[in-house]
């Protein structure tokens, strides 16, 4: 599996784009199946060639059955039992090869709302069972009726969360049927078209009402807010954005915007260059003592936020401008000395410019 993944990574240059990876998968699969068909003719027959080895309608020239057997007929040397076992095995392997990308597409297109793991697994297991049943029933009416009776006796009821999940289940049944009647090729083509249609409709948000804003428009405001103003509109962290829903992204953007305003207009010297976070059990006492310390050691400061927690220490966040003459450690020492037992912890995050200046000082000394 690892080799297969590396192979697909090679063809897609490690691209995460689902369409590109799907194309790569199918190309690799086609190459593998082509090679197997060439060297193992029984594969050729099982994927549907049995239905195709007749002359085309309207053609007057009949196919040479002996030539086909000579070129690719060593499977006829197999014992009937071994051939049956081998053909069944090939059918089941073929189903796995066909249904794997379907399950990937299912998981990919459900990632926003979260996919149902049971459905994803069912997509793999169900066609195996269906194919097995069809292989057993074949053309027997009696077995078909018996199967209907057995199925009627067992109640399979489940409610799927999304109606689109039902379509996936139907597809897996169709692939199972196709494989069971030795028409894997039909199943493969159906699943291939299904996968691409589905993933493209998901990609382009097909079916959304034209009166509603598109998904891109719905996200544009939040993404613009999240993007760095000097970063050419680039989103700072793609994973972060994907992990948020629209409301949370907007809330985060508002917070970013507030911090930006506090820090001052871009391009100018920032008003603050560090954030002091203090953890305390006694909020008011700590606040007064930390304020006193900051008055002494900081050039400028401002209480940015107070986060009150239940069952654990509260947090105080200060925006601080550190004097050039004061080091980070000196400021923290002063705060801890002033607050004493009123705080449980204090930490200082400094801007890159301060850290660089401190480093330079150290080097000069």
């Amino acid at each position: 599996m690892g080799f297969f993944k590396r192979l697909i990574d090679f063809f897609t240059l490690g691209s995460d784009r689902p369409v590109r990876r799907l194309i790569a998968y199918y190309l690799v699969l086609a190459a593998v199946v082509g090679a197997l068909m060439y060297f193992f003719p029984v594969v050729d027959r099982e994927i549907g060639s049995a239905q195709l080895d007749t002359a085309a309608p309207g053609s007057n020239v009949l196919q040479d059955g002996l030539a086909q057997e000579t070129v690719r007929g060593f499977d006829s040397d197999l014992s009937p039992r071994l051939e049956l076992a081998l053909s069944t095995f090939i059918i089941l392997l073929g189903i796995l090869a066909i249904m794997l990308p379907v399950s990937w597409v299912y998981m990919s297109t459900r990632s926003n709302r979260g996919h149902n793991q049971q459905v994803a697994q069912t997509l793999i297991f169900l066609p195996l069972v269906v194919a097995g049943i069809v292989l057993v029933v074949q053309n027997s009416l009696a077995l078909g009726f018996a199967l209907a009776g057995v199925v009627a006796a067992v109640r399979f009821r489940t409610t799927l969360r999304d109606s689109r999940d039902t379509v996936f289940i139907f597809l897996s049944i169709a692939v199972g049927f196709a494989a069971g009647v030795h028409m894997l090729l039909v199943g493969a083509v159906v699943s291939l078209v299904f996968n691409f249609v589905l993933i493209l409709s998901w990609r382009y948000d097909f079916g959304r009402s034209v009166l509603e804003p598109t998904a891109g428009a719905q996200w544009s405001e939040q993404l613009t807010e999240l993007a760095e103003r000097r970063g050419g509109g680039k989103v700072p962290d793609r994973d972060l954005v994907l992990a948020l829903d629209q409301k949370k992204a907007l809330a985060l953007a508002e917070r970013f915007d507030r911090v930006r305003k506090i820090l001052g207009p871009s391009g100018k010297k920032p008003r603050f260059n560090a954030i002091l976070s203090v953890t305390t059990e006694t909020l008011s006492e700590a606040q007064s003592k930390v304020s006193a310390a900051l008055d002494d050691v900081a050039a400028r400061w401002r209480l940015d936020e107070v986060v009150t927690n239940v069952g654990k220490p509260s947090e105080l966040f200060y925006l601080v401008r550190i004097r050039k003459s004061t080091s980070k450690d000196a400021l923290l020492t002063a705060v801890r000395a002033s607050a004493g037992d009123a705080i449980t912890n204090a930490d200082l995050e400094v801007a890159d410019s301060v850290a660089a200046a401190a480093e330079e000082d150290g080097d000069q000394r």
Binding site: I23, A50, D53, A55, V61
Partner: protein, 304 residues
């Protein structure tokens, strides 16, 4: 464009190019077909010569996979000039097959409207064809041109209750249609292999019937079959013996016109469902097989 984006289209192209070349590469497909068919004929003659020299006894000398129209091929007939005809199971559509080269020469339909019946066998009697249904109804018609629809005459042998028919052959020496029973419906004939003789009158309507019955044990011989249920019958043009094949037993039986068993044995080679048999004047045994989920086929053997 990055290298990776080029690989996929190139691979796709490499898969498509050979198929394009195959479908459109030839300037004159008919000439190509003709050369291939001639090569087939030469190959067949070579294999027949090998079979005559004893190098490949029992092996088929040719096998042609039939088109979808003949997936359920149900009977074979040889005309007096040695041409092979075949028909399907449900429709009265008759195909002439060049069995030496593996090609369909022509096809014609019986009846103006689509004639549908359970057709089980075909034979050529003098200058007329006869198709037989499982209930013993005969459809008589003349040979048609390619694509033509021909008129027919219907004759009910009234033997449908006595026998389920699966084949028909013409004995020119007695001017008689021979109709083997797959399933016997008469109690007195149970346990026998029964062949009805249906003598043709001058107006081509049957004038008398008789039956030839052989104890099933003799027909089965030393084989592991419980019985022998014939699905078609032909007459060896050199000996006049009857040659029968059975689908379920996948066997072949030769008997004299008097009913003495010459041999009964399993068919050599792979035969999913033998439904038709013919023996040519140049000693080739032709067996037609229903597809049984695959393509129908005719298989040629050297007949000695």
């Amino acid at each position: 464009m990055r290298g990776g984006s080029l690989i996929a289209p190139l691979l796709l192209l490499s898969l498509l190019v050979p198929s394009c070349r195959k479908s459109g590469g030839s300037e004159d497909p008919s000439r190509e077909d003709s050369a291939a068919l001639d090569a087939r004929l030469a190959k067949l003659q070579e294999r027949l010569a090998q079979a005559d020299s004893g190098e490949e006894s029992g092996d088929p000398v040719a096998r042609w996979l039939l088109g979808p129209e003949l997936t359920e091929v149900s009977g074979l007939a040889l005309t007096s000039d040695g041409r092979l005809f075949a028909h399907g199971d449900e429709t009265a559509r008759v195909f002439e097959i060049d069995y030496r080269r593996g090609a369909v020469v022509k096809q014609f339909w019986v009846g103006e409207d689509a004639l549908r019946e359970d057709f089980e066998g075909i034979t050529y009697a003098g200058n007329r064809f006869f198709l037989i249904t499982s209930k013993g109804v005969l459809y008589e018609f003349a040979e048609g041109a390619d694509g033509e629809r021909v008129e027919f005459q219907r004759h009910d042998t009234r033997l449908g209750k006595e026998c389920e028919f699966e084949g028909v052959a013409f004995d020119s020496t007695a001017n008689t249609l021979l109709m083997p029973c797959k399933t016997v419906g008469v109690k007195s004939l149970e346990g026998n292999l029964v062949i009805y003789r249906y003598t043709l009158g001058s107006d081509a309507s049957g004038t008398s019937t008789s039956e030839l019955s052989i104890p099933m044990a003799q027909a089965v011989g030393n084989n592991r079959w419980k019985q022998f249920r014939p699905t078609d019958m032909a007459i060896d043009p050199w000996t006049g013996n009857y040659v029968l094949v059975a689908a379920q037993e996948k066997g072949i039986l030769q008997i004299t016109p008097a009913g003495a068993v010459v041999f009964s044995r399993p068919l050599a080679g792979s035969h999913p469902q033998p439904e038709g048999v013919a023996v040519t004047r140049d000693s080739i045994l032709i067996v037609a097989d229903e597809g049984a989920g695959r393509a129908g086929a005719i298989t040629l053997y050297r007949w000695r």
